[in-house]
Amino acid sequence: MDFTFDNNIPIYIQVLEYMKIYLISGVFQCGEKLPSVREFATTFKVNPNTMQKALSELESMNLIYTERTNGKYVTKDKASIAKLKDEYALTLAKSYFQGMKRIGLGKADSIKYLERIDDAFETTRN
């Protein structure tokens, strides 16, 4: 996967976002050992210090933890990952509705559009 970064936003914040998606989507499961800072830095093609900063943020949010001398692990607390997923989904949904509101469409209409997209998915699959 290729990661694109917007140079206008601190890089560690963008790395943090990618990491959250990894946790939410289960690329890294609860309790799983994470690759080293250096391995992550190579994957994201960012500076190891930037990676370290993003991981420290995740740690302060209790989404990952460090086992001394052993490396970093995803939290064992499934509820906190579920909560993260819920918050993330809500943010995405809000931004969709805000966009629709800007062009004069209310909640009911917006949902209709969502259903139409759903139909489009079905047709492409068949």
Binding site: N7, I9, I11, I13, T42, K45, V46, N47, P48, N49
Partner: protein, 233 residues
Amino acid sequence: MHLKLLEIKNLNKSFDKKAILKDVNMEISSGKIIGLLGKNGAGKTTLIKIINDLLTSDSGEVYVQGKPIGVETKKIISYLPERTYLNKNMKVSEVIQYFKDFYEDFDAEKAEKLLKDLGLDINAHLSKMSKGMQEKVQLVLVMSRKAELYILDEPLGGVDPATRDYILDTILSNFNENASVIISTHLISDIERILDEVIFIDKGKIVLQSDADKLRKKEKSSIDEIFRRMFKC
């Protein structure tokens, strides 16, 4: 104890009465990638040459790991000059041997591996290679030393975007954690993603030294944008 990797105090240098560096002060610690950013003629290369003992200053002090510039500091600095100094009649394998003889900290195996990754023929003569390929060879040699400080003067100069990405990857994955890398360039947008710190130099003066992400947060824009705004012609 936290020893400063590079310390420069009140450094001045002029050529023919024209001041090129004016009272330069800076400190660099270990484990960082630093962008030395400035327009053409801002004094980047002159500063780098002084740190590498290729030019002498008029006044001021430069210390690398607490030692004044000299033989001992050259041992721990790996320098990529703007222009290659390699003998074009040599084969790549001969240049590797040359570096092995010259630098105690040179890792020939690593150099050979990196060259192989890049698809460069170790038996080829430099004169038979394109400019971009020669630049890659030079970078591989520089990054294959186990130095404390890497100084890369315009490493992205004449290379295509794909090679540029490769060079950045090479820099990222090959500098050891206790070392620092100083990259001088005016091609800021290409490299700003990998920088920890930025130093802006203009008309021979250091005008700004800051953590890259902090600067982005404060100014709400890219380093490239901040640089353009500050030095608008």
